[in-house]
Symmetry: none
Subunit: 210 residues, 4 copies
């Protein structure tokens, strides 16, 4: 399982930006932290600003509104999460291996960044607008990717074919989400997600046996 962190990958655009720039990234990192702690609505823009070490007004130089900050957070983090998972999937050949990899990669990222886990499982649902208007397409793409793997496994005989790839995808995503949620809300103890990943993988792979 990976220990990789998705946050703060400073991609310094130019040498001149070295110290001054990346303020956008600092703000996003701060937002993950304070949103995870208090939730989206209970967090004031000034809280994010304080955590990021910038002035309130500075937030608005990088984000149009508090809502857009959350949306950006979502897009940025989900984007990286998906890219990371995609990348990891490439190494595997069989559908089984791919499905296992998805579970392990996603939970592995959460393990390394508990606050991201909380943001993904809880915070993103706190803005109804974000959930209904922006998050859905992103999630759908992810679900489709999983469904495609399942369908491929069915075609080559790895999985039984009387399961709907889409329901399997939703169930799997929900299971991962539920595991991460209880873990994030609970102790979030080190190593907990590792075992969980194995269990979930086994459960679903068994469940999909022909």
């Amino acid at each position: 399982m990976s220990e990789s962190s998705l946050s703060s990958r400073k991609k310094r655009r130019s040498p001149r930006n070295l110290g001054a720039g990346d303020k956008r990234e600092r703000i996003l990192d701060a937002a993950v932290r304070v949103f995870a702690q208090s939730g989206f609505h209970a967090t004031r823009v000034s809280d994010v600003a304080k955590a990021a070490g910038v002035a309130d007004g500075t937030i608005y130089l990088y984000f149009e509104s508090k809502d857009e900050l959350l949306r950006s957070l979502f897009e940025d983090r989900v984007g990286r999460l998906l890219a990371f998972v995609q990348e990891g999937l490439a190494k595997h050949e069989t559908a089984k291996a791919k499905l296992s990899a998805i579970i392990e990669l996603q939970l592995g990222v959460y393990e390394g960044e508990p606050e991201l886990a909380e943001v993904m499982t809880v915070i993103l649902r706190q803005s109804t607008k974000l959930l209904k208007e922006h998050a859905r397409p992103g999630f759908m793409a992810y679900l489709d990717a999983i469904a495609t793997i399942v369908a491929a496994g069915q075609k080559n005989g790895e999985f039984r074919s009387d399961a709907s790839p889409h329901f399997v995808a939703r169930s799997l995503f929900g299971a991962i989400d539920g595991i991460a949620l209880t873990w994030a809300l609970g102790k979030a103890e080190r190593g907990g997600l590792s075992r969980a990943a194995t269990q979930v993988a086994e459960l679903f792979l068994h469940g999909l046996l022909p």
Copy 2:
């Protein structure tokens, strides 16, 4: 699958209350509707009042605050949902049948009350305080109940015994929740959850075969 509705069970306390009373119930019903539509934070107390056909101040005769209204909603609805599921479980003997029943009963209730599905999967996570302080114990009890069934199935040989009952419970709950969430956010088309219930049941029962 049941078509039963959990809301609005007016238990008129006295004949005199027949028409006038149960204002508390009317407010809760209205809250489910408007919260499901706009989310907890975007909904104003006056919106709930209007939907319930009462004055703003009346809300505060029955609930201490907007937060407490959500908490009451949670306790009331989750309480009924659990009672309904418990009741339904009693009819089944084997662990397999019980697990299937849980899935079908819960999704069945959602099917009959899409707004309740939305409240349970989305709205309850919008109050960080509710989620962290009140909802967790309730969910934990539910997870424990599922885990107990799984453990029993393992003991009598229905299920393979190398799966952790608790991880199975979380996965199953997460899967149900995920299915319900995408259904609620999507079209929530009639009959959708019925098929889903069968699929999820099959997936998990297969997955738990010895």
Copy 3:
């Protein structure tokens, strides 16, 4: 000094009213108590109702509004206080004796009813409207009565005549009020006002010596 209480003098209007009636009086008595405790604005009409043992709405059968309740309280209690003092004054001949009597009678009443003292020194000033529109004439009449006594004393040589009767009256009233205020806000210990009355009387009589 008198131990007489000005409150609750039930003047039963008719035999039939014996038990049922006098609700107005009960409400006024309750108002004195709760206003003294929490102040006029911090006291809710329902607090008065509860203290009087009546329903909220009943208050409005006897008083037009919360403001009018305070006004009635003022008129009723000040009326009785003045009548009581007037009555007591009649027994005295000299201006000196009358001045002493005023001090002793007023503080004596307060001693017997600490809550009335608080109402008169504090609560009545909490409704700006009452103070400016209704209380002033009442107080003015009282001040005039005192001033008249002083003037009479000056005319017959008891008092030096270079003191303005009106300033003396205001000073005396202010002194009594101040004594009562600190007493009411403090411990209001038994017997405290008795000594105070003697001291104040001596101070002012000395001060008015020719």
Copy 4:
């Protein structure tokens, strides 16, 4: 008698603050005005804001609540009043002179600021909490200061020694307060308090003669 004003002593902290700053002081000044006019409870925060020429929310940048605004007003103004009186007392040697000075200084300040007189005699009593929790210690200190002067005068033979310094202090404070109250509620005509001061001083000094 002094014509000095205690309000609006802008202590500009930095050159840049010259015009913009001291908003806190502007708010306090505005509060004195509108509170004097309508009373504490009848005044809305937005009234104070309008009178101060700031936005409603700005009040809360300088004061935690409406109550705290009144408390600050009290502390600020009483603090200045006491300092002013203390300062003036230093110039006098005998107890008689000091007592006269107290009367003249205090009434002198009121004469120059009728609204302050109203705030001190009426408004401060409108918040029961302020009166009971915060104002009392302040007043007590003032009363003690007066009592100390009286005691000193008794020790050196200026005053008769059978008068309780504390009762004298309360009486004197009450007299001053009563004079100021009727003056503030009435016409508050120019020069009125000047004559009053002389009269009160004479009355009390006479009253304290051995």
